[in-house]
Amino acid sequence: MSKVNTTQASVIKFNRSIIYNIFFLCITLSLLSLAIYNTTQSLYNMPKEGIGASRVEELRLQGLKNELDKIPNIKNINYIGDRPGLHVKDIPDLCMEEYFLSQFILAPTILELGNNNLPWAMTNLRNPKFDQEDMKHWKVIKNFNQGIILLKNQSQ
């Protein structure tokens, strides 16, 4: 009698294990399908070609960087960029991002904002309507086009 009960219990346990294993199999396969679907989606969502902001800025500032490398003992320079809020149509207001990017490209030269006591300055102006007031202390040394100009302090 007890042997029959043991066998019955084993069969019930076995059936449960089959159900659980099949259930887990379904979950695993669903997870796999989901994983593949997501990877495909993210592959399509990720940009395939183009040129990123840091690369664009690297190319724009290459000439200035080469020029700064020639000047001995240059550590800090004044940075004159577009002012927030002065943006015009079709030009996004990216003045702070451009400043940070310029700092990244020109490192280890440190770019200071609004320090007119420094001997050198640079401009990074995409906006044609820049504030002329910012430029009055400075003499143009070299224009690299696209709004990039190397300047020297007139008072020094």
């Binding site: 593949i36 592959l43 990123g52 990244f104 490192a107």
Partner: protein
């Protein structure tokens, strides 16, 4: 080419270092992938600590760095040759239905890795220096270390650079700068390879640990979940430090798990504390992790004095935290979260409005987490049905406690933040959760009760064969579809 060689040699150094300290009673046949995956963290962690001091002392630290790295390698090889290790013969894979299923699943996994690799390489071509955090913090610091001479630390702490978080730990920037110093040129490839190595390392850690302690099939499913998490791949491409920190958190949890399941081993506990320190050397959140690990270590020591010893843990922490302490004490600027009056902000802990906002954001971001098109959490939760308490108690309680304590820590940091709370939550919570995601996948994989052992021997063989055959055929179908996707995406 030289950049690749430089990262491979760093990985090799880490591998040899881990192998030297790896318990001799453990089989290399089972543990090789785990040792290999721990190698990248150990290699980059050790070399960044050395490079930190050499770059502060020497104007051109290239040769001295190389000599010191080689010295460590020679010492490790000497110890490897001296010690006797268990040798195990290599077993050929027998082509039974279980192994065929495994190979098919492995093929799916590798194809997914290729697809993700293509995405990352494409992204690197567009943004060679990564996204905002990549270039504005980590790679900017690397550039200063590389080009600023011996005074790079003081340059980095000028007021004009406050926005770049000069107080952030330096494992990533130093690793990038070291690779560029060794190769002799400033190239974005170094930064890209460092980021990709940590992603590969994280995948290796997950798969190897679950293969050893659970099941090879579940290990690959876990790997697939991680590799198909879109934000995991996006942040690798962005060159943020969240993936490396996630790697170090996972590695430390795994080492704690192994040392808790073994007899006391000095080397294993030394490695555990070294990796804890490296987490703090990677990102400020790692400091919170280090504090939690110290708490866990104290609790474990209280529970089992035989297994947990003070010496190796303290020694490892001192070694790995030494550069961080020097950096924070002598060079670092104040952190933006601790700069304003801390005591005044204690009252924020009881602020109902702030608590509500944070809970709300935790809910929203958790549901959107990972940038999945369809979130897998329900399926993962269903997989936990039938999990036994003994399994959780044996395998999961420790990693789960650490992960939950980290979440509590993040919660308190948000309560006390001096920054605009909504801005802070919306810009960082997703990344913070991603740091814990590999550890959560590990816990999930260790918790599930699969395969359930069958008791009737007569039915067992036939049942197992049918079960695996269905599984294998399904994966074969998935493989075929994936193959088409791969071919299409390569075009």
């Amino acid at each position: 080419m030289i950049t690749s060689l430089s990262i491979i040699s760093t990985w090799f150094l880490g591998f040899v270092f881990i192998y030297t300290l790896w318990p001799t009673n453990r089989s290399l046949k089972h543990d090789w992938l785990l040792i290999f995956s721990l190698g990248i963290g150990a290699g980059l962690g050790l070399t960044s600590c050395i490079f930190f001091f050499t770059s502060l002392i020497f104007t051109n630290p290239r040769w001295i760095t190389l000599i010191l790295d080689l010295s460590i390698l020679i010492i490790c090889i000497y110890f490897i040759l001296r010690r006797r290790r268990q040798t195990t013969a290599f077993n050929y894979i027998i082509l039974n239905i279980e192994n065929i299923t495994y190979l098919l699943l492995l093929s799916t996994f590798l194809q997914m890795c290729i697809v993700c690799g293509i995405s990352i390489v494409r992204y690197y071509n567009i943004n060679p220096w990564g996204d905002w955090d990549g270039w504005a913090i980590w790679n900017l610091h690397a550039k200063f270390i590389l080009t600023g001479g011996r005074s790079w630390a003081s340059l980095l702490h000028q007021p004009a650079l406050e926005w770049s978080h000069p107080d952030y730990p330096l494992l990533i920037p130093l690793s990038v700068a070291r690779i560029c110093t060794l190769t002799g040129e400033l190239s974005s490839m170094g930064a890209q390879l460092v980021a990709a190595s940590f992603t590969l390392g994280t995948l290796g850690l997950i798969i190897s640990t679950i293969s050893i302690y659970k099941n090879k099939l579940i290990a690959l499913v876990a790997g697939l979940i991680l590799v198909s998490t879109p934000s995991f791949i996006r942040l690798t491409a962005s060159q943020c430090a969240d993936i490396p920190l996630g790697y170090f958190i996972l590695a430390t949890i795994i080492l704690l798990f192994i040392s808790n399941n073994e007899k006391f081993n000095f080397n294993l506990q030394l490695l555990l504390s070294l990796f804890t320190g490296f987490a703090a050397w990677t990102k400020n959140e790692g400091l919170l992790f280090t504090a939690i690990m110290c708490l866990c270590w104290l609790a474990l020591k209280f529970l089992d004095k035989e297994k947990i010893k003070t010496k190796p843990f303290i020694l490892g922490l001192i070694l790995s935290l030494a550069p961080l302490i020097v950096f924070k004490v002598f060079f670092s600027a104040q952190n933006d979260l601790t700069s304003s009056h801390f005591l005044n902000r204690i009252s924020s802990l009881w602020n109902t409005e702030r608590n509500k906002i944070i809970i709300n954001y935790f809910g929203i971001i958790s549901l959107k987490f990972g940038e999945w098109s369809t979130v897998p959490f329900l399926l993962m939760a269903l997989g936990l049905i039938g999990t036994k308490w003994e399994i959780i108690k044996k395998h999961c309680i420790l990693p789960l406690s650490i992960t939950l304590l980290m979440l509590c820590g993040y919660y308190i940091v948000y309560l006390l933040t001096p920054l605009d709370l909504v801005y802070h939550l919306s810009t960082s919570l997703n990344r913070l959760l991603l740091q814990l995601w590999p550890s959560i996948i590990l816990i999930w994989s260790l918790a599930i009760n699969y395969p359930v052992k069958t008791t009737l021997l007569d039915f067992k063989v036939a049942y197992k064969s049918i079960h695996l055959a269905v599984f294998g055929l399904s994966i074969l179908a998935i493989n075929t579809i994936l193959g088409f996707i791969l071919i299409y995406s390569l075009k």
